[in-house]
Protein backbone atom coordinates (compact mmCIF):
# COMPACT_ATOMS: atom_id res chain seq x y z
CA UNK A 1 0.00 0.00 0.00
CA UNK A 2 1.39 3.36 -0.98
CA UNK A 3 1.89 6.41 1.17
CA UNK A 4 -0.83 8.31 -0.68
CA UNK A 5 -3.52 5.73 0.06
CA UNK A 6 -6.23 7.26 2.22
CA UNK A 7 -8.30 4.09 2.44
CA UNK A 8 -6.65 0.70 2.74
CA UNK A 9 -8.72 -2.47 2.83
CA UNK A 10 -6.98 -5.82 3.16
CA UNK A 11 -8.72 -9.20 3.03
CA UNK A 12 -12.02 -7.88 4.32
CA UNK A 13 -14.65 -10.50 5.08
CA UNK A 14 -18.08 -10.07 6.62
CA UNK A 15 -20.92 -12.47 7.28
CA UNK A 16 -24.47 -12.04 8.50
CA UNK A 17 -25.27 -15.38 10.08
CA UNK A 18 -24.95 -17.83 7.21
CA UNK A 19 -24.76 -15.19 4.51
CA UNK A 20 -21.27 -14.26 3.34
CA UNK A 21 -21.81 -10.66 2.28
CA UNK A 22 -18.14 -9.82 1.72
CA UNK A 23 -15.74 -12.64 0.89
CA UNK A 24 -12.22 -11.32 1.15
CA UNK A 25 -11.72 -8.07 -0.72
CA UNK A 26 -8.67 -5.80 -0.86
CA UNK A 27 -8.39 -2.38 -2.41
CA UNK A 28 -6.88 1.03 -1.83
CA UNK A 29 -8.18 4.52 -2.50
CA UNK A 30 -5.67 7.26 -3.27
CA UNK A 31 -5.88 10.65 -1.64
CA UNK A 32 -7.82 13.09 -3.81
CA UNK A 33 -9.48 10.67 -6.18
CA UNK A 34 -13.07 9.66 -6.79
CA UNK A 35 -13.32 5.95 -6.25
CA UNK A 36 -16.46 4.00 -7.07
CA UNK A 37 -17.74 0.67 -5.94
CA UNK A 38 -19.93 -0.60 -8.71
CA UNK A 39 -22.11 -3.62 -8.33
CA UNK A 40 -25.62 -5.00 -8.36
CA UNK A 41 -27.89 -4.84 -5.33
CA UNK A 42 -26.78 -7.32 -2.71
CA UNK A 43 -23.21 -7.52 -4.04
CA UNK A 44 -21.66 -6.32 -0.76
CA UNK A 45 -21.30 -2.60 -1.49
CA UNK A 46 -23.31 -1.36 1.46
CA UNK A 47 -21.75 -3.84 3.86
CA UNK A 48 -18.30 -2.64 2.84
CA UNK A 49 -19.17 1.04 3.14
CA UNK A 50 -20.80 0.46 6.54
CA UNK A 51 -17.61 -1.17 7.81
CA UNK A 52 -15.54 1.72 6.44
CA UNK A 53 -17.72 4.30 8.19
CA UNK A 54 -17.65 2.26 11.45
CA UNK A 55 -21.35 1.44 11.54
CA UNK A 56 -20.64 -2.27 11.29
CA UNK A 57 -17.92 -3.90 13.41
CA UNK A 58 -14.88 -5.29 11.62
CA UNK A 59 -15.07 -9.09 11.63
CA UNK A 60 -12.10 -10.15 9.55
CA UNK A 61 -9.41 -8.29 7.67
CA UNK A 62 -7.81 -4.89 8.10
CA UNK A 63 -9.30 -1.49 7.26
CA UNK A 64 -7.58 1.86 7.65
CA UNK A 65 -9.24 5.17 6.84
CA UNK A 66 -7.13 8.36 6.82
CA UNK A 67 -4.45 6.54 8.77
CA UNK A 68 -6.76 5.24 11.51
CA UNK A 69 -7.71 1.63 12.09
CA UNK A 70 -11.52 1.24 12.08
CA UNK A 71 -11.42 -1.49 14.71
CA UNK A 72 -8.97 0.14 17.12
CA UNK A 73 -9.75 3.82 16.60
CA UNK A 74 -13.32 4.15 15.34
CA UNK A 75 -13.70 7.56 16.93
CA UNK A 76 -10.68 8.97 15.07
CA UNK A 77 -12.12 7.63 11.83
CA UNK A 78 -15.51 9.20 12.60
CA UNK A 79 -13.87 12.56 13.15
CA UNK A 80 -12.31 12.76 9.70
CA UNK A 81 -15.02 11.34 7.43
CA UNK A 82 -18.25 12.71 6.05
CA UNK A 83 -21.17 10.52 5.05
CA UNK A 84 -24.12 10.87 2.72
CA UNK A 85 -26.32 7.92 3.48
CA UNK A 86 -28.26 5.97 0.90
CA UNK A 87 -31.51 6.22 2.81
CA UNK A 88 -32.95 9.53 3.74
CA UNK A 89 -31.31 10.25 7.09
CA UNK A 90 -33.22 13.42 7.91
CA UNK A 91 -35.56 14.53 10.65
CA UNK A 92 -38.75 15.52 8.85
CA UNK A 93 -39.61 18.06 11.51
CA UNK A 94 -36.32 19.91 11.72
CA UNK A 95 -35.63 22.81 9.39
CA UNK A 96 -32.81 22.86 6.89
CA UNK A 97 -30.76 25.07 9.16
CA UNK A 98 -31.49 23.00 12.27
CA UNK A 99 -30.42 19.86 10.42
CA UNK A 100 -27.03 21.45 9.73
CA UNK A 101 -26.77 22.98 13.20
CA UNK A 102 -27.47 19.62 14.85
CA UNK A 103 -24.75 17.98 12.80
CA UNK A 104 -22.20 20.70 13.52
CA UNK A 105 -22.92 20.53 17.23
CA UNK A 106 -22.62 16.77 17.62
CA UNK A 107 -19.27 17.01 15.84
CA UNK A 108 -18.22 19.75 18.24
CA UNK A 109 -17.53 22.52 15.71
CA UNK A 110 -17.30 25.83 17.61
CA UNK A 111 -20.33 28.10 17.23
CA UNK A 112 -19.03 30.94 15.04
CA UNK A 113 -17.12 28.63 12.73
CA UNK A 114 -20.13 26.33 12.54
CA UNK A 115 -22.58 29.08 11.65
CA UNK A 116 -20.23 30.47 8.99
CA UNK A 117 -19.75 27.07 7.37
CA UNK A 118 -23.50 26.39 7.41
CA UNK A 119 -24.17 29.66 5.60
CA UNK A 120 -21.48 28.93 3.04
CA UNK A 121 -22.58 25.37 2.37
CA UNK A 122 -26.28 26.18 2.12
CA UNK A 123 -25.32 28.75 -0.50
CA UNK A 124 -23.26 26.20 -2.41
CA UNK A 125 -26.11 23.68 -2.59
CA UNK A 126 -28.59 26.49 -3.27
CA UNK A 127 -30.70 25.91 -0.20
CA UNK A 128 -30.07 29.22 1.57
CA UNK A 129 -33.53 30.48 0.62
CA UNK A 130 -35.00 27.40 2.30
CA UNK A 131 -33.07 27.47 5.55
CA UNK A 132 -36.23 27.72 7.69
CA UNK A 133 -38.18 25.15 5.72
CA UNK A 134 -38.82 21.81 7.43
CA UNK A 135 -37.11 18.97 5.58
CA UNK A 136 -40.40 17.19 4.94
CA UNK A 137 -41.34 20.01 2.56
CA UNK A 138 -38.23 19.61 0.40
CA UNK A 139 -38.13 17.80 -2.92
CA UNK A 140 -36.06 14.64 -3.31
CA UNK A 141 -33.24 16.55 -4.97
CA UNK A 142 -33.15 19.22 -2.27
CA UNK A 143 -33.03 16.56 0.43
CA UNK A 144 -30.07 14.94 -1.27
CA UNK A 145 -28.31 18.28 -1.61
CA UNK A 146 -28.94 19.02 2.06
CA UNK A 147 -27.41 15.71 3.00
CA UNK A 148 -24.39 16.39 0.81
CA UNK A 149 -23.98 19.80 2.47
CA UNK A 150 -24.26 18.14 5.87
CA UNK A 151 -21.66 15.55 4.94
CA UNK A 152 -19.26 18.37 4.07
CA UNK A 153 -19.87 20.49 7.17
CA UNK A 154 -17.01 18.93 9.11
CA UNK A 155 -14.60 19.40 6.17
CA UNK A 156 -13.95 15.66 5.97
CA UNK A 157 -10.84 14.15 4.44
CA UNK A 158 -12.97 11.46 2.85
CA UNK A 159 -16.60 11.84 1.82
CA UNK A 160 -18.58 8.61 1.61
CA UNK A 161 -21.53 8.64 -0.76
CA UNK A 162 -23.78 5.61 -0.71
CA UNK A 163 -25.82 5.59 -3.91
CA UNK A 164 -25.82 9.41 -4.11
CA UNK A 165 -28.35 9.72 -6.93
CA UNK A 166 -30.66 6.80 -6.22
CA UNK A 167 -34.22 7.70 -7.13
CA UNK A 168 -33.42 11.16 -8.51
CA UNK A 169 -34.61 12.48 -11.86
CA UNK A 170 -31.99 12.91 -14.62
CA UNK A 171 -31.59 16.69 -14.21
CA UNK A 172 -31.18 16.47 -10.46
CA UNK A 173 -28.70 13.65 -10.90
CA UNK A 174 -26.54 15.83 -13.11
CA UNK A 175 -26.59 18.61 -10.54
CA UNK A 176 -25.58 16.18 -7.82
CA UNK A 177 -22.74 15.02 -10.08
CA UNK A 178 -21.63 18.64 -10.41
CA UNK A 179 -21.51 19.02 -6.62
CA UNK A 180 -19.54 15.81 -6.28
CA UNK A 181 -17.00 17.07 -8.82
CA UNK A 182 -16.76 20.46 -7.10
CA UNK A 183 -16.17 18.85 -3.73
CA UNK A 184 -13.54 16.60 -5.20
CA UNK A 185 -11.79 19.48 -6.95
CA UNK A 186 -11.62 21.24 -3.59
CA UNK A 187 -9.47 18.36 -2.38
CA UNK A 188 -11.84 15.89 -0.75
CA UNK A 189 -11.38 12.22 -1.53
CA UNK A 190 -14.66 10.63 -2.57
CA UNK A 191 -15.64 7.02 -1.99
CA UNK A 192 -18.96 6.17 -3.52
CA UNK A 193 -21.10 3.19 -4.24
CA UNK A 194 -23.48 3.09 -7.13
CA UNK A 195 -25.26 0.67 -9.33
CA UNK A 196 -25.56 3.17 -12.14
CA UNK A 197 -22.96 2.34 -14.75
CA UNK A 198 -22.82 5.73 -16.41
CA UNK A 199 -22.52 7.44 -13.03
CA UNK A 200 -19.43 5.43 -12.14
CA UNK A 201 -18.08 5.96 -15.64
CA UNK A 202 -18.54 9.74 -15.69
CA UNK A 203 -17.36 10.58 -12.19
CA UNK A 204 -14.75 8.09 -11.15
CA UNK A 205 -11.00 8.16 -11.37
CA UNK A 206 -11.06 4.48 -10.55
CA UNK A 207 -13.72 1.82 -10.25
CA UNK A 208 -13.92 -1.58 -8.61
CA UNK A 209 -16.69 -3.86 -9.73
CA UNK A 210 -17.94 -6.02 -6.89
CA UNK A 211 -20.18 -9.02 -7.24
CA UNK A 212 -21.12 -11.81 -4.85
CA UNK A 213 -18.89 -10.24 -2.20
CA UNK A 214 -15.75 -10.26 -4.36
CA UNK A 215 -14.01 -7.64 -6.48
CA UNK A 216 -14.08 -8.91 -10.04
CA UNK A 217 -12.01 -6.14 -11.64
CA UNK A 218 -10.52 -2.73 -10.79
CA UNK A 219 -9.14 0.10 -12.88
CA UNK A 220 -9.85 3.46 -14.49
CA UNK A 221 -13.07 3.60 -16.53
CA UNK A 222 -11.02 3.60 -19.76
CA UNK A 223 -8.89 0.71 -18.63
CA UNK A 224 -11.98 -1.29 -17.82
CA UNK A 225 -13.55 -0.52 -21.17
CA UNK A 226 -10.33 -1.12 -23.03
CA UNK A 227 -10.00 -4.58 -21.54
CA UNK A 228 -12.90 -5.43 -23.83
CA UNK A 229 -11.08 -3.89 -26.85
CA UNK A 230 -13.01 -3.53 -30.06
CA UNK A 231 -14.38 -0.09 -30.71
CA UNK A 232 -16.79 -0.09 -33.64
CA UNK A 233 -17.21 2.59 -36.33
CA UNK A 234 -20.48 2.72 -38.21
CA UNK A 235 -20.09 4.28 -41.64
CA UNK A 236 -22.47 5.18 -44.44
CA UNK A 237 -20.95 6.10 -47.83
CA UNK A 238 -21.87 6.71 -51.47
CA UNK A 239 -20.37 3.37 -52.39
CA UNK A 240 -20.21 0.91 -49.49
CA UNK A 241 -18.75 -1.96 -51.54
CA UNK A 242 -15.73 0.05 -52.68
CA UNK A 243 -15.33 1.65 -49.24
CA UNK A 244 -15.18 -1.81 -47.69
CA UNK A 245 -12.20 -2.78 -49.86
CA UNK A 246 -10.42 0.49 -49.03
CA UNK A 247 -11.01 0.07 -45.30
CA UNK A 248 -9.64 -3.45 -45.16
CA UNK A 249 -6.27 -1.91 -46.02
CA UNK A 250 -6.30 0.55 -43.11
CA UNK A 251 -4.05 -0.16 -40.14
CA UNK A 252 -5.84 -1.42 -36.95
CA UNK A 253 -9.02 -2.28 -38.84
CA UNK A 254 -9.81 -5.86 -37.97
CA UNK A 255 -12.93 -6.52 -40.00
CA UNK A 256 -15.58 -4.77 -42.04
CA UNK A 257 -19.09 -6.08 -42.42
CA UNK A 258 -21.71 -4.72 -44.77
CA UNK A 259 -25.36 -4.36 -43.93
CA UNK A 260 -28.21 -2.60 -45.78
CA UNK A 261 -27.71 0.41 -43.45
CA UNK A 262 -23.98 0.79 -43.97
CA UNK A 263 -20.65 -0.61 -42.81
CA UNK A 264 -19.57 -1.80 -39.35
CA UNK A 265 -15.85 -1.42 -38.93
CA UNK A 266 -14.32 -3.28 -35.98
CA UNK A 267 -11.13 -1.70 -34.74
CA UNK A 268 -8.46 -3.37 -32.65
CA UNK A 269 -6.99 -0.13 -31.23
CA UNK A 270 -8.48 3.05 -29.76
CA UNK A 271 -11.25 4.00 -32.18
CA UNK A 272 -11.04 7.73 -31.58
CA UNK A 273 -7.45 7.78 -32.89
CA UNK A 274 -8.23 5.52 -35.79
CA UNK A 275 -11.33 7.38 -36.97
CA UNK A 276 -9.56 10.33 -38.72
CA UNK A 277 -7.42 7.91 -40.73
CA UNK A 278 -10.50 6.00 -41.81
CA UNK A 279 -12.19 9.18 -42.98
CA UNK A 280 -9.07 10.38 -44.82
CA UNK A 281 -8.66 7.10 -46.68
CA UNK A 282 -12.27 6.80 -47.74
CA UNK A 283 -12.39 10.39 -48.95
CA UNK A 284 -8.99 10.00 -50.54
CA UNK A 285 -10.44 7.21 -52.69
CA UNK A 286 -13.08 9.67 -53.92
CA UNK A 287 -15.93 8.16 -51.91
CA UNK A 288 -18.40 10.52 -50.23
CA UNK A 289 -19.23 9.91 -46.54
CA UNK A 290 -22.87 10.27 -45.49
CA UNK A 291 -22.56 9.57 -41.77
CA UNK A 292 -20.03 8.37 -39.18
CA UNK A 293 -20.65 6.95 -35.73
CA UNK A 294 -18.10 5.66 -33.21
CA UNK A 295 -19.23 3.27 -30.51
CA UNK A 296 -16.94 2.44 -27.61
CA UNK A 297 -17.74 -0.32 -25.15
CA UNK A 298 -19.84 1.09 -22.28
CA UNK A 299 -19.60 0.25 -18.61
CA UNK A 300 -22.68 -1.84 -19.23
CA UNK A 301 -20.69 -3.96 -21.64
CA UNK A 302 -17.87 -4.17 -19.11
CA UNK A 303 -20.27 -5.14 -16.36
CA UNK A 304 -22.00 -7.81 -18.39
CA UNK A 305 -18.63 -9.14 -19.49
CA UNK A 306 -17.25 -9.48 -15.96
CA UNK A 307 -20.34 -10.54 -14.05
CA UNK A 308 -21.95 -12.44 -16.87
CA UNK A 309 -25.29 -10.73 -16.46
CA UNK A 310 -27.24 -7.51 -16.43
CA UNK A 311 -27.82 -5.63 -13.21
CA UNK A 312 -30.12 -7.45 -10.86
CA UNK A 313 -32.96 -5.80 -9.07
CA UNK A 314 -34.20 -6.30 -5.55
CA UNK A 315 -32.70 -6.67 -2.05
CA UNK A 316 -30.01 -4.19 -0.94
Amino acid sequence: MGATDIIEVVDLEHTFGEVEAVRGISFAVKKGEIFSFLGPNGAGKSTTINILITLLPLQKGRVRVAGHDVARDPRKVREVIGIVFQDEVLDRDLTVWETMEFHGRIYGIPRDERRRRIDDLLAVVELDARRDERTKNLSGGMKRRLQIARGLLTRPEVLFLDEPTLGLDPQTRMRVWDYIRQVNEAGTTIFMTTHYMEEADMLSDRISIIDHGRIVISGTPDELKNTLGEDVVYLETDDDERAREVLLGVEDVRSVTRSPRGLSVTISADGSHCLPRIIDRVRGAGIGIVSVNLKKPTMDDVFVHYTGRELRDGGG
Binding site: L55, E79, E88, D91, E98, F102, R105, I106
Partner: protein, 278 residues
Protein backbone atom coordinates in the same frame (compact mmCIF):
# COMPACT_ATOMS: atom_id res chain seq x y z
CA UNK B 1 -17.01 14.60 29.11
CA UNK B 2 -18.43 16.81 26.40
CA UNK B 3 -21.76 18.54 26.17
CA UNK B 4 -23.04 16.93 22.99
CA UNK B 5 -25.94 15.35 24.90
CA UNK B 6 -27.36 18.86 25.19
CA UNK B 7 -27.58 18.94 21.39
CA UNK B 8 -29.56 15.70 21.40
CA UNK B 9 -31.72 17.20 24.14
CA UNK B 10 -32.19 20.42 22.14
CA UNK B 11 -33.44 18.48 19.14
CA UNK B 12 -35.80 16.29 21.19
CA UNK B 13 -37.35 19.37 22.76
CA UNK B 14 -37.80 21.05 19.36
CA UNK B 15 -39.71 17.97 18.27
CA UNK B 16 -41.76 17.91 21.47
CA UNK B 17 -42.88 21.49 20.96
CA UNK B 18 -43.49 20.98 17.24
CA UNK B 19 -45.63 17.87 17.55
CA UNK B 20 -48.69 19.76 18.72
CA UNK B 21 -50.83 16.65 19.13
CA UNK B 22 -48.19 14.91 21.23
CA UNK B 23 -47.76 17.99 23.33
CA UNK B 24 -51.45 18.45 23.99
CA UNK B 25 -52.27 14.79 24.54
CA UNK B 26 -49.43 14.46 27.03
CA UNK B 27 -50.87 17.38 28.96
CA UNK B 28 -54.53 16.46 28.56
CA UNK B 29 -54.25 12.79 29.41
CA UNK B 30 -53.35 13.20 33.11
CA UNK B 31 -55.83 16.04 33.46
CA UNK B 32 -58.57 13.74 32.17
CA UNK B 33 -57.54 11.04 34.65
CA UNK B 34 -57.85 13.52 37.47
CA UNK B 35 -61.10 15.01 36.22
CA UNK B 36 -62.99 11.79 35.53
CA UNK B 37 -61.42 8.82 37.30
CA UNK B 38 -60.37 10.89 40.29
CA UNK B 39 -63.63 12.64 40.88
CA UNK B 40 -65.72 9.50 40.22
CA UNK B 41 -63.58 7.27 42.45
CA UNK B 42 -63.32 9.74 45.27
CA UNK B 43 -67.05 10.17 45.47
CA UNK B 44 -67.77 6.44 45.53
CA UNK B 45 -64.79 5.44 47.72
CA UNK B 46 -65.60 8.32 50.02
CA UNK B 47 -68.91 6.61 50.86
CA UNK B 48 -67.24 3.31 51.84
CA UNK B 49 -64.33 4.68 53.76
CA UNK B 50 -65.99 7.53 55.60
CA UNK B 51 -67.37 4.98 58.08
CA UNK B 52 -63.87 3.83 59.07
CA UNK B 53 -62.78 5.66 62.20
CA UNK B 54 -59.71 7.86 61.89
CA UNK B 55 -57.16 7.38 64.69
CA UNK B 56 -56.90 10.35 66.95
CA UNK B 57 -54.36 12.98 65.94
CA UNK B 58 -53.91 11.64 62.40
CA UNK B 59 -54.75 13.82 59.39
CA UNK B 60 -57.54 12.49 57.19
CA UNK B 61 -56.75 12.73 53.46
CA UNK B 62 -59.54 12.52 50.89
CA UNK B 63 -59.32 10.07 48.00
CA UNK B 64 -58.76 12.67 45.28
CA UNK B 65 -55.70 13.97 47.11
CA UNK B 66 -54.53 10.41 47.80
CA UNK B 67 -54.74 9.33 44.19
CA UNK B 68 -53.33 12.59 42.77
CA UNK B 69 -49.91 11.34 43.83
CA UNK B 70 -50.70 8.09 42.02
CA UNK B 71 -51.74 9.89 38.85
CA UNK B 72 -48.53 11.90 38.81
CA UNK B 73 -46.58 8.67 39.24
CA UNK B 74 -48.59 6.84 36.61
CA UNK B 75 -48.19 9.63 34.07
CA UNK B 76 -44.46 9.66 34.67
CA UNK B 77 -44.34 5.89 34.27
CA UNK B 78 -46.19 5.89 30.93
CA UNK B 79 -44.33 8.86 29.52
CA UNK B 80 -41.00 7.30 30.48
CA UNK B 81 -41.82 3.82 29.21
CA UNK B 82 -42.60 5.24 25.79
CA UNK B 83 -39.65 7.63 25.91
CA UNK B 84 -37.51 5.27 23.82
CA UNK B 85 -39.98 5.54 20.97
CA UNK B 86 -38.14 8.48 19.42
CA UNK B 87 -35.03 6.30 19.15
CA UNK B 88 -36.98 3.72 17.20
CA UNK B 89 -38.30 6.37 14.85
CA UNK B 90 -34.76 7.64 14.47
CA UNK B 91 -33.55 4.14 13.68
CA UNK B 92 -36.16 3.60 11.02
CA UNK B 93 -36.76 7.04 9.57
CA UNK B 94 -34.48 9.49 11.28
CA UNK B 95 -31.05 10.52 12.38
CA UNK B 96 -29.81 7.37 14.13
CA UNK B 97 -27.21 6.45 11.46
CA UNK B 98 -25.89 10.02 11.57
CA UNK B 99 -25.57 9.95 15.36
CA UNK B 100 -24.04 6.46 15.50
CA UNK B 101 -21.46 7.34 12.85
CA UNK B 102 -20.50 10.59 14.56
CA UNK B 103 -17.64 10.95 17.03
CA UNK B 104 -20.15 11.85 19.76
CA UNK B 105 -19.99 9.18 22.50
CA UNK B 106 -23.07 7.01 22.23
CA UNK B 107 -23.96 7.48 25.87
CA UNK B 108 -24.81 11.05 24.90
CA UNK B 109 -27.63 9.85 22.66
CA UNK B 110 -29.34 8.07 25.56
CA UNK B 111 -28.56 10.87 28.00
CA UNK B 112 -30.03 13.52 25.71
CA UNK B 113 -33.14 11.45 25.03
CA UNK B 114 -33.54 10.62 28.73
CA UNK B 115 -33.12 14.20 29.87
CA UNK B 116 -35.76 15.33 27.41
CA UNK B 117 -38.10 12.58 28.64
CA UNK B 118 -37.44 13.75 32.18
CA UNK B 119 -38.26 17.32 31.21
CA UNK B 120 -41.54 16.17 29.67
CA UNK B 121 -42.40 14.29 32.87
CA UNK B 122 -41.63 17.38 34.94
CA UNK B 123 -43.88 19.51 32.77
CA UNK B 124 -46.68 16.95 33.09
CA UNK B 125 -46.25 16.62 36.84
CA UNK B 126 -46.33 20.38 37.26
CA UNK B 127 -49.53 20.61 35.25
CA UNK B 128 -51.20 17.83 37.23
CA UNK B 129 -50.29 19.53 40.48
CA UNK B 130 -51.69 22.86 39.39
CA UNK B 131 -54.78 21.32 37.80
CA UNK B 132 -55.24 19.13 40.90
CA UNK B 133 -55.19 22.15 43.18
CA UNK B 134 -57.96 23.63 41.02
CA UNK B 135 -60.00 20.41 41.34
CA UNK B 136 -59.59 20.39 45.10
CA UNK B 137 -56.48 18.25 45.67
CA UNK B 138 -55.05 19.25 49.02
CA UNK B 139 -51.32 18.91 48.40
CA UNK B 140 -48.98 20.74 50.78
CA UNK B 141 -51.97 21.41 53.03
CA UNK B 142 -51.05 23.69 55.90
CA UNK B 143 -47.35 23.77 54.91
CA UNK B 144 -45.26 26.91 55.30
CA UNK B 145 -43.84 28.50 52.13
CA UNK B 146 -40.39 27.14 52.92
CA UNK B 147 -41.73 23.66 53.47
CA UNK B 148 -43.71 23.81 50.21
CA UNK B 149 -40.56 24.78 48.31
CA UNK B 150 -38.61 21.96 49.97
CA UNK B 151 -41.45 19.50 49.28
CA UNK B 152 -41.68 20.43 45.60
CA UNK B 153 -37.94 19.85 45.24
CA UNK B 154 -38.37 16.52 47.01
CA UNK B 155 -41.19 15.45 44.68
CA UNK B 156 -39.19 16.39 41.58
CA UNK B 157 -36.08 14.63 42.85
CA UNK B 158 -38.11 11.41 43.13
CA UNK B 159 -39.73 11.97 39.74
CA UNK B 160 -36.34 12.65 38.15
CA UNK B 161 -34.73 9.42 39.34
CA UNK B 162 -37.77 7.32 38.57
CA UNK B 163 -38.25 8.69 35.06
CA UNK B 164 -34.53 8.41 34.32
CA UNK B 165 -34.61 4.74 35.26
CA UNK B 166 -37.57 3.90 33.05
CA UNK B 167 -36.38 6.13 30.19
CA UNK B 168 -33.06 4.32 30.14
CA UNK B 169 -34.91 1.01 30.28
CA UNK B 170 -37.10 2.08 27.37
CA UNK B 171 -34.08 3.34 25.41
CA UNK B 172 -32.29 0.06 25.99
CA UNK B 173 -35.23 -1.99 24.69
CA UNK B 174 -35.70 0.38 21.76
CA UNK B 175 -32.10 -0.03 20.63
CA UNK B 176 -32.61 -3.80 20.50
CA UNK B 177 -35.90 -3.66 18.60
CA UNK B 178 -36.64 -3.07 14.95
CA UNK B 179 -40.01 -1.35 14.96
CA UNK B 180 -42.09 1.03 17.09
CA UNK B 181 -44.91 -1.52 17.13
CA UNK B 182 -42.68 -3.92 19.09
CA UNK B 183 -42.04 -1.32 21.78
CA UNK B 184 -45.73 -0.56 22.00
CA UNK B 185 -46.52 -4.20 22.75
CA UNK B 186 -43.75 -4.71 25.28
CA UNK B 187 -44.44 -1.52 27.16
CA UNK B 188 -48.18 -2.12 27.41
CA UNK B 189 -47.40 -5.55 28.83
CA UNK B 190 -44.99 -4.11 31.37
CA UNK B 191 -46.93 -1.03 32.37
CA UNK B 192 -50.06 -2.85 33.54
CA UNK B 193 -48.52 -4.94 36.35
CA UNK B 194 -46.25 -2.07 37.40
CA UNK B 195 -49.21 0.24 37.64
CA UNK B 196 -51.67 -2.07 39.35
CA UNK B 197 -49.25 -3.87 41.68
CA UNK B 198 -48.42 -0.61 43.38
CA UNK B 199 -49.82 1.80 45.95
CA UNK B 200 -50.75 4.35 43.28
CA UNK B 201 -54.53 4.03 43.46
CA UNK B 202 -55.22 1.99 46.60
CA UNK B 203 -53.43 0.84 49.76
CA UNK B 204 -51.23 -2.24 49.36
CA UNK B 205 -51.97 -3.26 52.95
CA UNK B 206 -55.03 -5.16 51.72
CA UNK B 207 -53.09 -7.06 49.00
CA UNK B 208 -52.49 -10.82 49.29
CA UNK B 209 -48.98 -11.40 50.74
CA UNK B 210 -47.51 -12.39 47.35
CA UNK B 211 -48.59 -9.13 45.73
CA UNK B 212 -47.46 -7.17 48.77
CA UNK B 213 -43.93 -8.53 48.30
CA UNK B 214 -44.03 -7.71 44.61
CA UNK B 215 -45.24 -4.19 45.25
CA UNK B 216 -42.38 -3.61 47.69
CA UNK B 217 -39.92 -4.21 44.81
CA UNK B 218 -41.92 -2.09 42.40
CA UNK B 219 -40.16 1.22 41.65
CA UNK B 220 -43.58 2.85 41.24
CA UNK B 221 -44.45 2.08 44.86
CA UNK B 222 -41.27 3.84 45.98
CA UNK B 223 -42.01 6.83 43.78
CA UNK B 224 -45.55 7.15 45.15
CA UNK B 225 -44.25 6.83 48.71
CA UNK B 226 -41.84 9.69 48.04
CA UNK B 227 -44.47 11.92 46.45
CA UNK B 228 -46.93 11.33 49.29
CA UNK B 229 -44.29 11.93 51.95
CA UNK B 230 -43.48 15.33 50.47
CA UNK B 231 -46.96 16.35 49.34
CA UNK B 232 -49.15 14.93 52.12
CA UNK B 233 -46.88 14.70 55.13
CA UNK B 234 -45.38 11.83 57.11
CA UNK B 235 -48.49 10.65 58.95
CA UNK B 236 -51.95 10.60 57.39
CA UNK B 237 -55.01 8.43 57.01
CA UNK B 238 -56.54 7.61 53.62
CA UNK B 239 -58.78 4.93 52.06
CA UNK B 240 -59.13 3.17 55.39
CA UNK B 241 -55.42 2.86 56.08
CA UNK B 242 -52.88 4.80 58.08
CA UNK B 243 -49.69 5.97 56.39
CA UNK B 244 -46.84 6.68 58.72
CA UNK B 245 -43.76 7.29 56.57
CA UNK B 246 -40.49 7.69 58.44
CA UNK B 247 -37.47 9.59 57.14
CA UNK B 248 -35.77 6.20 56.90
CA UNK B 249 -38.57 4.91 54.66
CA UNK B 250 -38.19 7.84 52.30
CA UNK B 251 -34.41 7.59 52.15
CA UNK B 252 -34.72 3.86 51.46
CA UNK B 253 -37.18 4.53 48.64
CA UNK B 254 -34.91 7.21 47.21
CA UNK B 255 -31.89 4.91 47.39
CA UNK B 256 -33.90 2.14 45.75
CA UNK B 257 -34.78 4.41 42.82
CA UNK B 258 -31.18 5.59 42.56
CA UNK B 259 -29.92 2.01 42.33
CA UNK B 260 -32.67 1.23 39.82
CA UNK B 261 -31.63 4.19 37.63
CA UNK B 262 -27.93 3.27 37.91
CA UNK B 263 -28.55 -0.34 36.86
CA UNK B 264 -30.70 0.83 33.95
CA UNK B 265 -27.93 3.22 32.91
CA UNK B 266 -25.34 0.46 32.81
CA UNK B 267 -27.62 -1.89 30.86
CA UNK B 268 -28.59 0.83 28.38
CA UNK B 269 -24.97 1.81 27.86
CA UNK B 270 -24.17 -1.72 26.75
CA UNK B 271 -27.02 -1.69 24.26
CA UNK B 272 -25.86 1.63 22.80
CA UNK B 273 -22.23 0.68 22.54
CA UNK B 274 -23.10 -2.49 20.67
CA UNK B 275 -25.66 -0.92 18.38
CA UNK B 276 -25.04 -1.45 14.67
CA UNK B 277 -26.95 -0.31 11.66
CA UNK B 278 -28.55 -3.18 9.82
Amino acid sequence: MGWEFLTVYWREMIRFVRFRTQLFSSILQPALWMAFFGVAMSSSLGQFTSAIPVPAGVVQVDYLTFMAAGVIAMTTLFTSLYGGMSLLYDKNWGLMPEMLASPMPRTHIMLGVSLSGMTKSFIQAGIIMVFGLVLGVRFFHGFSAARIAFSVIGVFAFLGLFSLGFLLFSSNISMRLESPEGLQGIMTLISLPIFFVSNALYPVQAFPPFLQVLSAYNPLTHLVTGIRYFALGNDFFAVGARYAITTGDVLTSFAYLAVFAAVMYLLARRAFERAVVA
